[in-house]
Structure formats: structure tokens, C-alpha cells
């Protein structure tokens, strides 16, 4: 199993090892969720005792907000954690079929714009299908979020020798980021509602399966190609 290079790097200013930072984030997230749970339980109680329908409805909205906050924290914890794949043998075609169904379910508007090119034989993957699915969903989610050109995304899947190659091509008129250490530099480009942990999580998941993750921008064609290579056990 490959090691995520970013996990051995240091946080610049304080020189805190990444592993300590992960522990800190997970503990903080855990503590905050505990408090949120307490607040949530209290508001559940208030909802029970409230007699006014409007008040009840408002409390329900409040509870929904707290649930979402709790979900963000949980996702944060999951994103920084080292993935522990529960590997099983899984048909590559079935895996792609699952991901397409999932995309249609989660992104019903965006998914039809994806052009698929699937060339798979009877290849089998040794993967944790939930984790790898999570990684691919993250890539698609990012692409849908940043897809401003109105052009289609192209997803190709094929088996090349002993690897399954999944490539997602996003048309981008401009792209000024380096793709050299793609997904290895978490927390570099934090924005509102965006913690730059997603790609790091994708890389960690892929590498925990013995795969490779990289990206390359071609200024000529104006396409950012992100590729995941996963070992296959039979083709």
C-alpha cells in the first residue's frame, strides 16, 4: 500500500506533523459533534413540548441546520482520515455501472452531460467499492462545480495491460495551477465552504489500493485530464 506523501509533510508555520494535525481535526470535530448532538437533543425535546405548530416547524428547520453542520464535521473527519479499504473482488464493468447510477442519482442535472467511453473486458478489481466510488464522486463533484464553459465532461474507462485507467477530461480555458503534486497538498487553496481536502482524500484512497492518481492540463486543447489507475486482477 502506497503512503500518502502529504501525510509525512509538515504544517509550515508551526511545523506540526500532518498526523498530529489530523488527530487535532478529528478530535475537534468529534467534540463539536458531541455538543451539536446535545443541542439537537435539546431541540428535539423542545419540539416535543412545543404546542404551537409554527414554533414546531421552526424548531424542525433548526434541527435540520444542525444536522447539516454535523454532517460537514463528520465529512471533515472522514476526509482527513487515512482510508482503510475493505478489499473485495469487484467486476470493473459493474463498478462503472454503479458509479453511473449513483451520479444520476446525486447529480441528475449534470450527469447527462457526461460523455462516457467505456471499454472494459471481464476485468476484476480488488477494491473497496465504497471507497473508490467515493473518490470518483469527489472528482465528478469537483468537475461539475467548476464546469463553467458549458462543454461536456468526458469520462473514459479502459483496461491497459494490468491497470484500469479512468480518465476524466474537463474543458478549461485557463488553468494556472501546477498538477505536479496533484492531491498531495491539502489546505493549500482553502475557500469558503471548500477546504481543499477532497483531492487529497482521492489520492489517499487510490494509493491505499495500490493505484496512482495524477492530473495534467493541456493548454493546446484546453483540457484538464485527471487519471486514476487501479490494478486489475484479470482481463
Amino acid at each position: 500500500m502506497a503512503t500518502v506523501s502529504s501525510q509525512t509533510s509538515s504544517i509550515d508555520s508551526t511545523n506540526v506533523p500532518w498526523s498530529d494535525f489530523v488527530r487535532f481535526v478529528r478530535q475537534l470535530s468529534h467534540d463539536l459533534r458531541n455538543h451539536l448532538n446535545a443541542v439537537e437533543l435539546q431541540s428535539a425535546y423542545l419540539e416535543e413540548v412545543a404546542t404551537d405548530d409554527e414554533v414546531k416547524s421552526e424548531i424542525r428547520r433548526l434541527r435540520q441546520m444542525m444536522s447539516e453542520l454535523s454532517a460537514v464535521l463528520q465529512k471533515l473527519s472522514a476526509n482527513v482520515a487515512q482510508p482503510k479499504p475493505n478489499v473485495i473482488s469487484y467486476g470493473a464493468a459493474e463498478f462503472i455501472e454503479d458509479i453511473r447510477r449513483k451520479l444520476a442519482n446525486i447529480f441528475p442535472k449534470e450527469e447527462p452531460a457526461v460523455e462516457w467511453d467505456v471499454q472494459l473486458q471481464d476485468a476484476n478489481l480488488q477494491i473497496d467499492p465504497q471507497l473508490v466510488q467515493e473518490a470518483l464522486l469527489e472528482l465528478f463533484g469537483n468537475a461539475f462545480r467548476h464546469q463553467l464553459s458549458g462543454q461536456s465532461l468526458k469520462a473514459s474507462v479502459r483496461v491497459d495491460r494490468d491497470s484500469l485507467l479512468f480518465t476524466l477530461r474537463e474543458p478549461k480555458e485557463h488553468f494556472d495551477l501546477s498538477t505536479e503534486r496533484w492531491g498531495s497538498e491539502p489546505l493549500r487553496r482553502v475557500a469558503q465552504g471548500h477546504y481543499a481536502l477532497g483531492l487529497n482524500r482521492v489520492r489517499a484512497i487510490v494509493e491505499s489500493h495500490g493505484g496512482q492518481f495524477n492530473a495534467q492540463y493541456d493548454p493546446t486543447s484546453g483540457v484538464l485530464a485527471t487519471t486514476i489507475a487501479l490494478p486489475v486482477s484479470g482481463a
Binding site: 451539536l36 448532538n37 439537537e40 437533543l41 428535539a44 424542525r60 434541527r63 435540520q64 444542525m66 444536522s67 454535523s70 454532517a71 463528520q74 472522514a78 482503510k84 475493505n86 473485495i88 469487484y90 459493474e94 463498478f95 454503479d98 449513483k102 473497496d128 467499492p129 465504497q130 471507497l131 466510488q133 467515493e134
Partner: protein, 463 residues
């Protein structure tokens, strides 16, 4: 693979189903999967698993509704809710509706495994508790039967008076003599006295003086030390010693040898005794309840019961009347015995047909309550379609009352009788022997059938 490790996963996402199946399979669980609520319910109905992992979002049903259905049809099966949404609202709602726990995706395998293990452990404990509860209920029923058996059942006034007397004197240390025909319930009365006494914490010790050869009663009663006589291979404390701090019930005391009665009388007076073969004097600390089925006057007249022992025993005397003299007690006794035997046989309590019940009321019950108990047991065993009819009663009970022989009537026949009485008695005896068949009775008596009819008319024998 035991049934107790069977897990059903209901989730529409194939990666989750397969991953969980593989993960749980690796830890020795037998996993079945269903991608829809309908398929899940079908599997549940085929073979109930020990645990269900249920996704809250299914293509053909709302997870919470599915949970309701599972808890309604399979209330003992724990359900762990799986959901992609970390909504405490859902968690609370699931728990309210009976889910064992709630786990949100993505879950750590360790977390899920731990939860599954805990759920199955709880399930196992619940199953064990249910089994123990069932056993306890069975034992309680048996205890209730035993207690019912040992408590007098009556509605008659005479038995109510006896009950009042027992209530009044049971807490005292006074000796009690219980008399009454065989089977009237003398031991039941003795048990009741003991249970209401201050000595009730220890079991009553019973010795039936008629059940032992006369030579052995002494050793049984007083006990002996090793080597006291041939065959005394070890020390034996005797019933007096066993009854220390409790009650000694001597049944059929008039069958106790006369010399032993003298020795026992001394124990009652001095409250001390010695075991056979021992020189050590021991304290006798028992309350005495004695019983006899012989009429006291007769036992005293025949010297079967020493008068000085009788006076010592007779602090309180309870004369239990025969059942034929308190027929009001028959219905509650019958009801109690029917319940008791139906439970013992694992049958529903049969009803008693009115004509059969009348037979039970009409019969003279020479064997008293014990005979009634045996008759009801016989009837409950034979009862068909949950009904006791006349045919299910013992033959003796089925006979017309005129043909029934009782110890009571036999007793009246002792002494010189008139020729008419003897003839009537012989006719009745023949009819009883032939179960009321007049043709056979006439043959047995060596007379013509019309002659028998004439005699029946003459002696006002109605069948």
C-alpha cells in the same frame, strides 16, 4: 454456522451490499442481502435473521416505514439503521420506532463490527432472558399447582369452621390431632397448619406410621447411631431430629406400636429423646400434628391408641368430614383438579357436561377427595373435544347412586340385619357388579328377570 449469526442487509447500493457481505462474512457471520424493501421482507419471512442492517433510502419504500413493518412483524429482531445522511433527527426517529442503533455512512468497519457484535449480544441476552422467563413461568405454574394441592379447597360451612380454627391455632405450639376417613385431606390440613405456623420456614417432616414395619418405626422416629443394630451402617438423625425447629406430622398414629406410643409420649412430655444406640440426650424441638383415619372412640376401645397419648395429642382436634357430607366442596375441588391436570397434560381445560357434573355431585365418594382427584384425572385424560362427558368418568361414578357401594354403607351393614335388608343388599350388590344390567343381575342372582323387577319395586330401588 448458527442461526444466531445470520444477518440480513437491506440496501439498494451494490457496493455497500457486497462490501458488507464480504466484511461480515470474514468475521463468521452468515449474510444475506436484499436490494429492495420487498426482497428484504421476503427474505425476512423465509427465515428470520438475528439482525437486520437497513438502509433508510430504498427504491421501493421509505426506510422508516420499512422499519415499522419489520418491528411490527418481527418485533424481536434488532434493526441497525444505515444512512448516508448524518441526521440526528433520523436517528432519534429510528430509535423511537424501535431501531437498535443508527450508523451513518461512511462508517468505519470497526465501528460497524462492534455495533453488530453488541446488537447480537443483546439479542442473545434477550433470548436467554425470554427462555429464563418462560422457565420461571413454568415453575411458577408448577408451584401454584403444588400450593393449590396443599391448600384446602372448600366452600362448605363445616370446612370454613375448620379453616377458622386453623387460622386461630396455627401460630401456637399446640399439638393437633386430625381425624377423618382416608382421603379427606388430613395431610393437606396438616400442611396448612404448618405453613401458617411460626415454624413454616423449615419443611414439615412427615412419618406415616402405617408405612413402616413396626420394628422399623422406632429407628425412623428416634434415629440411631452407627452400629446401634444390624444394618445401622451410619448415623441417622431420625424424624424427631429432622423436625427440629419445624413440625412433625405423624400420619396413622394409631398404627404406631403401643410400647412406642409410650416412649413417644415421654418425648412429648419431657421434650428430650435419645437415639437408638446412643446415651446422649437430645433436645426435641418440634410441633406435633398427628392424624388417624380410625374413629377415635374405636381406636381407644381397641387399645390401638393409648388414651394418655390421645389426651396429649388432643389439644386441638380437627375432624375432617367425609366428602359426601360436604358436597358443596365438590364443585371447587373439581374445578381445581381439572385446571391442575389440564396444565400437567398440556391440554386446554376441558368443560364438564352437566350430566357428568351431576354424576360427580351424586356419587358418594367413599375414597373422599383423593378418589375425586383420581376420577378427575381419569376424566381429563380421556376428555375428547375439550369436554368431559359421563363416559369419561370412572365406571363406579357412572353407576346410579342406588348401586354405589360406599365404606359408609358397608359400615352400616355390620351387625345383624333383617332378611329383607340382606336381600336388598344382595340385589344391589349384583346390580352394581353387572353395572346396572338387570338381565345379567337376574342371572347372577339365579332368579327370573320379572322376579328381579318385582323385588326392585318392593325395595324401592330406582335405577
Amino acid at each position: 454456522m448458527t442461526e444466531h449469526r445470520r444477518i440480513l442487509i437491506i440496501d439498494d447500493e451494490r457496493p455497500i451490499l457486497l462490501t458488507l457481505e464480504a466484511l461480515l462474512g470474514r468475521y463468521g457471520y452468515q449474510v444475506e442481502t436484499a436490494a429492495t424493501a420487498a426482497a428484504g421482507l421476503k427474505l425476512l419471512k423465509t427465515k428470520v435473521p438475528a439482525l437486520v442492517l437497513l438502509d433508510l433510502q430504498l427504491p421501493d419504500a421509505e426506510g422508516l416505514q420499512m422499519l415499522d413493518q419489520i418491528k411490527s412483524e418481527f418485533p424481536d429482531t434488532p434493526v441497525v439503521i444505515l444512512t448516508a445522511h448524518d441526521s440526528l433527527n433520523n436517528a432519534i426517529e429510528s430509535i423511537k420506532r424501535g431501531a437498535y442503533h443508527f450508523i451513518s455512512k461512511p462508517y468505519a468497519p470497526e465501528e460497524l463490527l462492534s455495533l453488530v457484535e453488541k446488537a447480537l449480544e443483546k439479542q442473545s441476552l434477550l433470548r436467554e432472558t425470554a427462555e429464563l422467563r418462560q422457565k420461571t413461568e413454568q415453575l411458577e405454574k408448577r408451584l401454584e399447582i403444588a400450593e393449590t394441592r396443599s391448600m384446602p379447597i372448600f366452600t362448605s360451612k363445616v370446612m370454613q369452621q375448620i379453616e377458622e380454627l386453623i387460622t386461630a391455632m396455627a401460630p401456637s405450639e399446640a399439638n393437633v390431632l386430625i381425624t377423618g376417613e382416608s382421603g379427606v385431606g388430613k395431610e393437606v390440613i396438616a400442611n396448612t397448619i404448618h405453613q401458617r405456623s411460626r415454624r413454616a420456614s423449615k419443611p414439615m417432616v412427615k412419618l406415616n406410621c402405617a408405612a413402616f414395619p413396626q420394628t422399623m418405626i422406632e429407628g425412623e422416629l428416634f434415629g440411631y447411631v452407627k452400629g446401634a443394630f444390624t444394618g445401622a451402617a451410619h448415623d441417622f438423625p431420625g424424624m424427631i431430629g429432622e423436625a427440629s425447629g419445624s413440625t412433625l406430622f405423624l400420619d396413622e398414629i394409631s398404627d404406631m406400636p403401643a410400647d412406642l406410643q409410650t416412649r413417644f409420649l415421654r418425648v412429648l412430655q419431657e421434650r428430650e429423646y435419645r437415639q437408638l444406640g446412643s446415651t446422649r440426650t437430645l433436645k426435641a424441638d418440634f410441633r406435633l400434628i398427628a392424624a388417624t383415619n380410625r374413629p377415635i372412640a374405636q381406636a381407644l376401645a381397641e387399645n390401638r391408641l393409648r388414651s394418655d397419648l390421645y389426651y396429649r395429642l388432643n389439644t386441638f382436634q380437627i375432624e375432617v368430614p367425609p366428602l359426601r357430607e360436604r358436597k358443596q366442596d365438590i364443585p371447587p375441588l373439581v374445578a381445581s383438579f381439572v385446571k391442575q391436570f389440564a396444565q400437567q397434560l398440556g391440554k386446554p381445560e376441558p368443560a364438564i357436561a352437566p350430566d357428568a357434573f351431576q354424576k360427580l355431585l351424586d356419587y358418594s365418594w367413599p375414597g373422599n377427595v383423593r378418589e375425586l382427584q383420581n376420577a378427575v384425572e381419569y376424566a381429563v385424560v380421556l376428555a375428547r373435544q375439550n369436554l368431559i362427558g359421563v363416559k369419561e368418568l370412572p365406571t363406579e361414578v357412572q353407576l346410579p347412586s342406588a348401586l354405589q357401594r360406599t365404606e359408609h354403607t358397608m359400615a352400616l351393614r355390620s351387625g345383624v340385619q333383617s332378611l329383607d335388608d340382606m336381600e336388598k343388599s344382595t340385589i344391589l350388590q349384583a346390580l352394581a357388579q353387572c353395572h346396572g344390567n338387570k338381565k345379567k343381575a337376574a342371572e347372577l342372582l339365579g332368579i327370573q328377570r320379572p322376579t328381579l323387577y318385582n323385588k326392585l319395586k318392593r325395595y324401592a330401588i330406582e335405577l
